[in-house]
Amino acid sequence: MLCATSRLLAARAASALPAHPRGRGPVPRSRRRELHFPGHPELPPGDLLAGRFAGPSVSTGRRAILRRGRMPPAAGGGLAGSELRPRRGRCGSQAARAAGRDVATETATARSPKRPAPPSSRRFEAAGRWALLALVTLTSFATRFHRLDQPPHICWDETHFGKMGSYYINRTFFFDVHPPLGKMLIGLAGYLSGYDGTFLFQKPGDNYEHHSYMGMRGFCAFLGSMLIPLAYLTVLELSRSLPAALLTAALLTFDTGCLTLSQYILLDPILMFFIMAAMLSMVKYNSCANRPFSAPWWFWLSLTGVNLAGALGVKFVGLFIILQVGWNTLSDLWHLFGDLSLSMVTLGKHLTARILCLIVLPLALYIATYAVHFMVLNKSGPGDGFFSSAFQARLSGNNLHNASIPEHLAYGSVITVKNLRMAIGYLHSHRHFYPEGVGARQQQVTTYLHKDYNNLWIIKKHNSNSDPLDPSHPVEFVRHGDIIRLEHKETSRNLHSHYHEAPLTRKHYQVTGYGINGSGDSNDFWRIEVINRKFGNRIKVLRSRIRLIHLVTGCVLGSSGKVLPKWGWEQLEVTCTPYLKETLSSIWNVEDHINPKLPNISLEVLQPSFPEIMLESHLVMIRGNNGLKPKDNEFTSKPWHWPINFQGLRFSGVNDTDFRVYLLGNPVIWWLNLLSIALYVLSASIFAVAVQRGVHLPVKVEGLSQVLLRGGGQLLFGWMMHYFPFFLMGRVLYFHHYFPAMLFSSMLTGLLWDTLLRLCAWSLASYPLARCVHVLGILTLLLGTAYSFYLFHPLAYGMVGPLAQDPRSPMAGLRWLESWDF
C-alpha cells in the first residue's frame, strides 16, 4: 500500500511538473492575485460580489500542492503570500532538490508581497471579507438570540444541567456521567448573571418565575451562535472559496435543529463550540505549516490543544475530535518525516511541539478542570452515594466528614461493610427468614442502601468465643488471610453460606445468618483477603478493598445487585459466588468502625489523594455511562434514525394548548446533507480513480479535485468520526448526539456543492454562462435553505395551537414523516 502511495505521489509530481507552465498561463493573473493579496486590482469595486462568486482561482490550489506536497489538508494552500516559507525562498538549490520545489521558489518570488498592489482596493477587499464575516456572525446571533427567553419554563434536559449549574453555585457535590467543564461554565454564567442557585429545576415544564435564567441560556446561545462563524472560517480555509463558506454558514444558520439546541441550557452548544473551534484551529494551523515555529503556528497549535481539552472536558464524545486531530497530526508528522531536507533535530522539535501542545497542554487543562470541580464542590450532596467511603470523607456535611474512627481493624470491632459497586450498599441482615422453598430457612442476609443498626457486624476469631473486648486481652489486629467470623450485632447470628442455591442467582450459593448467640458451625468461617495490599497486612478502614472467601465452599461473598421480592423487603440479594472473578460486586470495604480499645484517628489521613480522586471519579463516570442501558421495551433512538431526520425530540409541550418546541433538523437541509455525502463519495472516488489511472486532468479540474479530495476528505472523516462510533455504543442514545456529526456534514455539503457547481461551470466552456451557472446554483441553494427555514422555524421558536394534522396549525402540511411528532 505504502509503495502505492509513494508511487502515486511520484507520479503526480512527475506529471505535474511539465504541466506547470500551463498552470500559470491560462489563468488570468488578476484572479491568482486575488487569492494571495487581499486586494483585487482589476475588478472595479462594484463588481466585488460577482468577482467573489466567480471565485478564487484553482490554479493556486494546484500550485500549493506542488509547493508543499506533504501537507494533506487545506488544499487551497498558503495564507497570504507574505507567509511563504522564507527558507525556501532563500536557498533555491536546496528547494530544487525535490520535484516541484523550484516551482515553489518561483511562485514565492512571483507572489512576493513586495509586488505593489493598489492599497485602496486591497483594503476594500479586506473590508468586504470582514463585512461578510460580520454579516454571517450577525445573522447567526440574531437567529439564536431571537425569542431566547421563550418558553419561560424548563425545557427537556435543562432540568439536569440547570440543576447542576445551581449545584456549583451552592457548592454541593453531585454526580454526573459527563466531565465537569460544561456544567461549570453554565454555573459560572449563571453566577455572573446574578442567578443565585435557588431554583430547584425539578422537572421540565416548571416555570422559572423570578429566577434569572437568561444568563445561562444566553451563554449557551452565545456559544451556539459562534458555531456558524467557526464553520464559515473552516470551510473558507479548506476550500478558499467564499461561496462554499457562505453556503455552509447558511445551512447551519437555517437549521432548526442547531438553532433549538443552541437556545437552552444544555451541554451540546458548549461541546459543539469546542469541537468546531478545535477543527478551525487545526485547519488554521495546517495552513501555517509552511512557517513552522512562527508565532501564528504556535498560536493555532496551542489553541487546538486548548479546545481539545474543552471538548473532552464537556462530554466524553469530545474524544472523537481528539482522535481526528490525532490522526491529522500523525499524517502531518509522517509527511514531515518523509521530507529528507529536514534534519532529525528539526523533526524532534516538531514532535516535541506537538506533544507539548496537543497532549501535555490539554491534559493539564483537563486535570485543572477537575481540580476546580473538586475544590468548588466541597459540600455533601446528592452525588455522595456514588463514591467510595473514603471519598465521601472529603465532603462537609457527610457523616464521614471530620469523623474519627480507629484506623486498623481488630478483633471485636463493630463494623459496617460496604460493597464497592455503585448503589449496592451495606451488608445487612434482619430478623426475618428466607421463605419456604428458598434455600434453607435461615435468616436473610441482604444489602441495604441506607444506614441502619442492622448493618453492624462484629468481627470475631473463628475459633474462640472469648470476648475480644475484654480489657485484659491485648488488642489483636485482623490481617490479610485470617480466618474470621462475622457476627450480626443485632441478632447474634453468624454470616453463613452453604451449598444451597441463592434465591435469585441460581448458580450462586445462598448466604444466611446462622447460629445462636454467635455459635454456629464451620460454614461460618470466612477468609478475609485484602486486594490492594500496599498498606501492609493489616486492614485499613475505608481504604482496604477486601474479599471474603467462604472457607468450606471456596466461594466469594458478593452482591448480585438483583432486587429481592417482597419477602426480602426489596433489598438486594447477597450471594456467595463460586466464580472467583475479581468483579467489583464481590469487593467490599469497611466503613464504620467502633472499637473502644483502639485510638481514634481523624479520617483526614485516609483522604484520597488527587490522582486517586481523578481515577475514582472517572471509573464512576464510565460505570455510570455503561449503566445507561436502554430498558426493555423502551423506545430509544437508533443511530440510523439520525441522518435521515427520522424522529425528533420533544423539548417542551405535548398538547395543542402548550407552548411546543420540537428538536428536529430542517429536513431540507438534512436531506441535502445526506444526498451530499453520497454525491461526495461518488465524485471523490471518481477523481481518485482518475488520478490512480494517471488521467491528465485539466489544470482547473485538478485544482478542484484537490479541494474535494483533501478538504472534503477531512470533513468526511470528521463526520464519520462523530457518527459511526455510536453504532458500537451500548448506552441509551438520543437524537442530539448526532449534531456534532451534522456540523461536519453541513460543511461538507457547502464545500461539495461549490466545487461541483464550479466543475459544472467549467464544463460549460463559455465564460459568462459559466459564471452564471455557479452564481445561480449557489443563490438557489441559499434561498432554498432560507425558505425552508421560514417554513420550519416554528419548531425552534416554539408554537402554540393545534397539532400538525389540523390545517390551522402553523405546521400544517409540513409533517412529511409520520414519525415526526408535532
Binding site: 509503495c3 426493555d632 489511472r693
Partner: protein
C-alpha cells in the same frame, strides 16, 4: 522441485500462446506436437504433514464415548436436524450446525439422544466417530494448509514446514478439532480463504483470467462465506481478505499497462466472486437450512405467526383453513408482533384492577386486560361493528378494512376493550386499558378503536389473518394499544401489562398486533359462543411465505435473540488469552482422573505473541527507515514482509481485538482462530531474523541452534500436555499438580 520446472514449460507455452492468435490453437498444436504425457509429482513434505495431521486428529477419535463440554450444546441441534425439527440458535448461522449434522447423517444417527449433561455416556445409537469426523478432518487439513500458506507468501520450505509442525503440535487446536465443535471448521475455512486468495493473487501476476485464476478466486469467495456461515466471527477474516483484495485491486487500477476495459473486467470479476458470490452462498445455507427443517419445534414461539404457519405441525395445524379475511363478527386471537420479553396474546379475565395500587394511586377498578404468553380460551376476541349488536358473521362476510372503526369484545366475558384517561398500573405515563365495566359512576365507555393496518399496500386493504400487522388507535384519545412488557404484580397474575400509549406516534413493534387464530363466529348466544370458543378452529389450506421473507425474519431473530448472559466457571476475558492464563476443563473420566482440557502449548502461545510484537516493532522500524529513504530490505522482500504481516498479524488482530468490544460471555476457544494466524507469523518472523538480521554466518548458526532448541522445547511441552489433550491416560494427583504450571489453570484433582 520438478513441479516448478514443468510449470515453467507450461507457462512458456501459454506465453507463446498469448502472442499467437488463440490459446486453444496452441493447446491443440501442443497435443499434436508432443505425445500425451502424465507427469505426476508428489510433494512428500505435504503428504507427510497431512498424514501426521490425520494421525494426531483422528487417533482414538471415538474416545471418550461421552458428551464432552459444548458437544452438549451442538449435539441437540444435530438431533433437531436428524428429526427435521425447526430450531433457532442465535450463536451463529446454520452452516456449521449443518456440517456437524452431515456427520450424523453419514453415520446413520437417528437423533435419539438426550443432550442434557456434560459427561453423559453416549448410547449405542450415537455414531460418535462419524459425528466427530468432520471437525477432525478440518483440523487435520489445517496442517498442510499452513504449509501452503507460508509457501505462497514466498517463504522457504523450512519456514513452511515449521508453521505446519507448530499447528500440528498445538494442543489446544488438537483438543478442539477432536470434538463436535465448530472452531476447527472455522479455522479451516479461514485458512482456506487466505490460502486461495494468495494462490489467486500469485497467479494474477502471470495468467489472469486463466481457469486456475478463476478457480482460486471463486474458492476464496466460497471459503469466506463458509467461514461466515459457521460463526459470525468469520466475518472478520472475510473483511481482512476483502481489504487486501481492495488494496490489490487499487494497484490494478493504477497499473497503466492495462487497458481500461481490462481493468473493469478485473474489478467486476473480483466484485462478483468476493461480494456477490459469498452473499449467494450464505443465502444458500439458509435455504438448505429451511428446506431441511420443516417441522415445528420448541423454538416456534419466537417466530412470527406467519413463519410458524409455514412449518409443519404446530401453528400450521391450527391455522390451516382459517378464513383469510377478518370480517365483522370474526373471532380472533391477537398476538403482539414485538414478542419481547416473551411472545404473548391479548388477554382478559374476570379479575379487575385493584381499586388502589400499592403506591397509593387509584385505578378504574374495571376488568384487567393483559398480554398472556400461553394459549388460552381467554385470548379470544370478537371483532364487532359498533353500529350493530350482532356478534356473528354475515353471509357473505363483510371484511374489515384499514381505517374502519371497530369494537373488540372479549369472548368469554362479553366486555368491550376500553381505554380512558386513567394512568396504567405500572406505566403511569400511559393510559389504562380495561374491559369496560359500567359502575354507573359517570365514567362513560370509550371503546371505539380505529384499525390501522401497518403493512397495507393501499388504503382499502382488508385485514388479513396472520399476514396483516395492525395497530389499534383509540378513537377518543388517539392512544395506541401497546404492550409495555412489564409483568404485573400478583393481582395481575404476573401477566404482562397492556397500555394505551398516548405520547408515541412513531412505529414500534410493541404497538403492532396480528391475528393468529381466526374463525367466523356463528353463535349469537353467550353459552353457545363459549362452547364454540373452546372448540378447535377448522383446517384446510396452508399459506406459504417466500424464502426471502423467511430468511430475513430468521436472520433478524437470530441476531436479536438474547441469550441470558450467564456467568460460567470457565469464562475468561480476552486479556487472559494472549499468555494462556486460563483453561477450560472439557471432560473428566467418571472414575479415574483421566481428563480433557482445552489447554494450549505454552511455549507456542508465548513465542507467537512475542513474534507478533517483534513483527510490529520491526515493521514500524523499517517503515520509518524507508520513509527516510533507508532501505534495509530489497523491494520484493519488503513486499513479502508486508503481505505476510497483513495476512498473519492482521488475521490475528481482526480475530482477536473485536472481542474486547463484545459483551457476551467469552471463552478461551474464541481465541483459537486468532492464534492460528499468529502461529503462521512465527516462522515468518524467525526466517526474517535469520536472513536479514543475523549478519555473520556464526550468528546465523547460533540462531538456528536456538530455534532448534526452542522447537524441541515446544515439542516437549506438547508431549507433556498430551494426556490432558487426549484424556487417554489417568494421571496421579502428583502428576496433575506438576502439570499445573500456572495458578490460574484449573486442573481437576480428585480428593479420595
Amino acid at each position: 522441485m520438478g513441479r516448478r520446472s514443468s510449470r515453467r514449460e507450461l507457462f512458456l507455452c501459454f506465453s507463446r500462446a498469448s502472442s499467437s492468435p488463440g490459446l486453444l490453437f496452441c493447446k491443440m498444436l501442443g497435443f499434436l506436437q508432443h505425445p500425451v504425457m502424465v507427469t505426476a509429482e508428489v510433494n512428500l513434505n505435504m503428504v507427510a504433514l497431512t498424514a501426521m495431521g490425520l494421525l494426531s486428529r483422528l487417533w482414538q477419535l471415538a474416545y471418550p464415548r461421552a458428551v464432552v463440554f459444548d458437544e452438549v450444546y451442538y449435539g441437540q441441534y444435530i438431533s433437531f436436524y436428524m428429526k427435521r425439527i425447526f430450531f433457532l440458535d442465535g450463536s451463529g448461522p446454520p452452516f456449521g450446525h449443518m456440517l456437524l449434522a452431515l456427520g450424523g447423517y453419514l453415520g446413520g444417527f437417528d437423533g435419539n439422544f438426550l443432550w442434557n449433561r456434560i459427561g453423559a455416556e453416549y448410547s449405542s445409537n450415537v455414531p460418535v466417530w462419524s459425528l466427530r469426523l468432520l471437525p477432525a478432518l478440518s483440523g487435520a487439513l489445517s496442517v498442510p494448509m499452513a504449509y501452503e500458506i507460508v509457501r505462497e507468501l514466498g517463504f522457504s520450505h523450512c519456514a513452511a514446514t515449521g508453521a505446519a509442525l507448530l499447528v500440528l503440535i498445538e494442543n489446544a487446536l488438537i483438543t478442539q478439532s477432536r470434538l463436535m465443535l465448530l472452531e476447527s471448521v472455522l479455522i479451516f475455512f479461514n485458512l482456506l480463504a487466505v490460502l486461495s486468495y494468495l494462490k489467486f493473487s500469485n497467479s494474477q501476476k502471470h495468467r489472469p483470467f486463466s481457469p486456475r485464476w478463476w478457480f482460486w478466486l471463486v474458492l476464496t469467495g466460497v471459503a469466506c462465506s463458509c467461514a461466515v456461515g459457521i460463526k459470525y466471527v468469520g466475518v472478520f477474516t472475510y473483511l481482512l481478505v476483502l481489504g487486501v483484495a481492495a488494496v490489490h485491486a487499487w494497484h490494478v487500477i493504477g497499473d497503466q499497462t492495462l487497458s481500461n476495459v481490462r481493468v473493469l473486467c478485473h474489478l467486476l470479476a473480483r466484485a462478483a466472486a468476493l461480494v456477490v458470490l459469498p452473499i449467494l452462498v450464505y443465502l444458500l445455507f439458509f435455504y438448505i437450512h429451511l428446506l431441511l427443517l420443516y417441522r415445528s419445534g420448541p423454538h416456534d414461539q419466537i417466530m412470527s405467526s406467519a413463519f410458524q404457519a409455514s412449518l409443519e405441525g404446530g401453528l400450521a395445524r391450527v391455522t390451516q383453513g382459517q378464513p383469510l379475511e377478518v370480517a365483522f363478527g370474526s373471532q380472533v386471537t391477537l398476538k403482539n408482533v414485538f414478542g419481547q420479553p416473551v411472545p404473548c396474546w391479548l388477554h382478559s379475565h374476570q379479575s379487575t384492577y385493584p381499586m388502589i395500587y400499592e403506591n397509593g394511586r387509584g385505578s378504574s377498578h374495571q376488568q384487567q386486560v393483559t398480554c398472556y404468553p400461553f394459549k388460552d380460551v381467554n385470548n379470544w376476541w370478537i371483532v364487532k361493528d359498533p353500529g350493530r349488536h350482532q356478534l356473528v358473521v354475515n353471509n357473505p362476510p363483510r371484511p374489515v378494512r384499514h381505517g374502519d372503526v371497530v369494537q373488540l369484545v372479549h369472548g368469554m366475558t362479553t366486555r368491550l376493550l376500553n381505554t380512558h384517561d386513567v394512568a396504567a398500573p405500572l406505566s403511569p405515563h400511559a393510559q389504562e386499558v380495561s374491559c369496560y365495566v359500567d359502575y354507573n359512576i359517570s365514567m362513560p365507555p370509550q371503546n371505539l378503536w380505529r384499525l390501522d393496518i401497518v403493512n397495507r399496500e393501499s388504503d382499502t386493504d382488508v385485514w388479513k389473518t396472520i399476514l396483516s400487522e395492525v395497530r389499534f388507535v383509540h378513537v377518543n384519545t388517539s392512544a395506541i394499544l401497546k404492550l409495555s412488557g412489564v409483568p404485573l404484580p400478583d393481582w395481575g397474575f404476573r401477566q404482562l401489562e397492556v397500555v394505551g400509549e398516548k405520547l408515541f406516534r412513531g412505529y414500534h413493534e410493541s404497538t403492532v398486533w396480528n391475528v393468529e387464530e381466526h374463525r367466523y363466529g356463528r353463535s349469537q348466544e353467550q353459552k353457545e359462543r363459549e362452547l364454540e370458543l373452546h372448540s378447535p378452529t377448522q383446517v384446510d389450506i396452508s399459506r406459504n411465505l417466500s424464502f426471502m421473507a423467511r430468511f430475513s425474519e430468521l436472520q433478524w431473530r437470530m441476531l436479536t435473540v438474547r441469550s441470558d448472559d450467564s456467568e460460567h466457571k470457565y469464562s475468561s476475558t480476552p486479556l487472559d488469552w494472549v499468555m494462556l492464563d486460563t483453561n477450560i476443563a472439557y471432560w473428566l473420566h467418571p472414575r479415574t482422573s483421566a481428563q480433557i482440557h482445552l489447554l494450549g502449548n505454552v511455549v507456542i502461545w508465548a513465542s507467537a505473541s512475542l513474534a507478533t510484537l517483534a513483527y510490529a516493532l520491526l515493521f514500524v522500524w523499517y517503515l520509518l527507515r524507508r520513509r527516510r529513504r533507508v532501505c534495509d530490505l530489497p523491494e520484493d522482500c519488503w513486499l513479502r514482509w508486508v503481505l505476510a504481516g497483513a495476512l498473519c498479524a492482521g488475521g490475528w488482530a481482526v480475530n482477536y481485538l473485536p472481542f474486547f468490544l463484545m459483551e457476551k460471555t467469552l471463552f478461551l476457544y474464541h481465541y483459537l482462530p486468532a492464534l492460528t494466524f499468529q502461529i503462521l507469523l512465527l516462522p515468518v518472523v524467525l526466517e526474517h531474523v535469520s536472513d536479514h538480521l543475523c549478519r555473520s554466518q556464526l550468528q546465523r548458526s547460533l540462531f538456528t541452534a536456538l530455534v532448534v532448541a526452542w522447537f524441541t522445547s515446544a515439542c516437549h511441552v506438547s508431549n507433556m500436555l498430551r494426556p490432558l489433550t487426549y484424556g487417554d491416560r489417568p494421571l496421579s494427583p502428583n502428576e496433575l499438580k506438576a502439570l499445573r504450571w500456572k495458578d490460574s489453570w484449573d486442573i481437576l484433582i480428585r480428593r479420595y
